[in-house]
Amino acid sequence: MTETGTTAPFTSRERVGFSAHRVSVIAVNTLTEAVRQKVFILFLLIGLVFIASAVFFAQFTFGEQMKFIKDTSLGVISVISTLIAIVGTAQLLPSEVENRTIYTILAKPVRRFEFLLGKFCGSLLLLLLSMAAMCILFAAVLWIKEQGMIRELSQTYVGESPEAHVEARKQIEQVQTEVLDVELVKALLADLAKATLIASVTLLVSTFSTSLVFNVVVPFMVFVAGMLRGTAADMWGAHRLFMAVLAVVPDFGLFSIADEINLGRVVPWGHIGRIITYGVARTLVIVVAAHLVFSRREI
């Protein structure tokens, strides 16, 4: 009992530890907010249109058509996911500060790290959802092409010898293998790791900048620099100091394996594992750096 006769609000047992639940609440809220804003739907629609348009190359061979569909679809997924990663993450913190919603959240028993992580996870959820939608359409386009090809092959070999039928079955199996290529999953995983990494860079930039334009342009420039790192290493690898400075920029070129997979090559799981490890390690450190900046930021 206190002097005024009331009971003390805080008991000795009350603690506020890190809560994954609070992180998930903020993440889901971020996703909801993003999905209800039309701009991301627009990005997605553009992506879906490009993927669907890959169907219109009937004058080419099946192999050519498959390559066009896979290259276009994976390329579009890569571009749109990068755009969503940058634009979606860039506006997370500035809009919270501008609308003062950040005050109402941080005034609650919410750790700054939970808030930051929640916003970042929300952005990743948006990315996952967008990629899933594009992948579904991609799979549908592939399936349509596959069914058309199988029908064509079946009709071609009607009335032919048993050996010709065996040949037809083999060709159909080849078509199915080419369409339902498990290797495509590797390309998508690499793209997801890349997009997550660029989203983390954007998050870091947004922890110290309030300008939305700055938060979009700088990560984009980092992305371009990262794509050129391989070329820089080829051309100026001997200049150790320059390469040491450049090491701060992630090498985004390492995530580009879609082209190889679309050429029918098998990318070893070990290689994929190392790419993802690279992406995750960079992402984790950048998120920690973002937390360090944000924890000291005056709101």
Binding site: P9, V16, N29, Q37, N99, T101, A107, I299
Partner: protein, 287 residues
């Protein structure tokens, strides 16, 4: 126990290279007692919002300390029993009223059926039950202020920090908010409200503190501060004009002087509210 206590709390903002620092708050010693309504007043830029931000750990003090119910403000647990309504809040435009409260409730650890019940109670309390499923983008200023109050109350906090709670709100909404604050006080809650609308503060606050250029220049009980002990006001009714001269003579005979004689005035706000009430009653009769 003091709900809020600050000792030598100081904040200097860094204005950048070669621009020096801005002294926003200087050695503030503030004590807000548990269960009272404390008004933090001052002109724009006096340090009111900075004080609230320091108490909520939104900014780091340059010097000094602050506690909420004896827990340092730098600890997250200090905010377990605090509800905050910022100035001109916008919230998440794409969430409905109910979804907004659900979001904040979950952040405070309120879940399940208890959360649902609390949301219904609060929407009823702030008069937004009918707008619960409308997105906040479609809310008026007053409605946003009310949903802001509701989110501040979602976890039944013991301390409320309200930054300009009636700014931009119409007189009816303003009165509702003031009535709500008094109700909360009756429930034993502590309220620290910052405002520069003095007339509204006068009606609800027990104590006030006046900040100017980062320093507390005046503090004390409202009624004590605003009453002029040297003067006495007696209101009479139905006094004939002939007896008025005798009353004035009696005052002078006692050695006092008459400062003014006239008819008491109501406030514009009271007049406005009365007119609306009569109009609504009139409509009711016609129905």
């Amino acid at each position: 126990m003091d709900a809020i206590r600050t000792e030598q709390l100081t904040k200097k903002y860094d204005l950048g290279w070669r621009k020096g620092k801005l002294l926003a708050l200087e050695k503030l010693n503030l004590r807000v007692r548990e269960g009272e309504v404390y008004g933090l007043l001052g002109p724009n830029g006096s340090g009111k919002s900075t004080t609230l931000k320091l108490v909520l750990d939104l900014v780091v003090p340059t010097a000094g300390d602050a506690w909420i119910f004896d827990v340092p403000c730098s600890k997250v647990v200090s905010r377990l029993h605090v509800g905050f309504l910022p100035e001109n809040p916008y919230f998440y435009r794409y969430l409905t009223g109910a979804e907004t409260l659900e979001f904040y409730g979950k952040l405070c650890g309120v879940r399940g059926a208890a959360l649902k019940k609390r949301i219904d109670e609060l929407l009823d309390l702030v008069g937004l039950s009918r707008a619960r499923d409308r997105r906040l983008a479609g809310y008026s200023k007053g409605m946003l202020q009310r949903i802001g109050l509701a989110q501040a109350l979602i976890h039944d906090p013991k301390l409320l920090l309200l930054d300009e709670p009636t700014a931009g709100v119409d007189p009816i909404g303003s009165k509702d908010i003031r009535d709500l604050i008094l109700r909360l006080k009756g429930m034993g809650k502590t309220v620290l409200l910052s405002s520069h609308l003095l007339a509204q503060v006068q009606d609800v606050c027990d104590r006030i503190g006046v900040l100017n250029r980062g320093q507390m220049i005046l503090e004390g009980d409202v009624q004590t501060l605003i009453s002029d002990q040297r003067r006495l006001s007696i209101t009479v009714q139905d006094l004939p004009e002939t007896a008025r001269a005798r009353v004035e003579d009696a005052v002078r005979a006692a050695g006092a002087s008459i400062v003014s004689v006239g008819h008491p005035q109501t406030t514009l706000e009271a007049l406005f509210l009365e007119a609306l009430r009569k109009d609504q009653q009139g409509e009711g009769e016609h129905d």
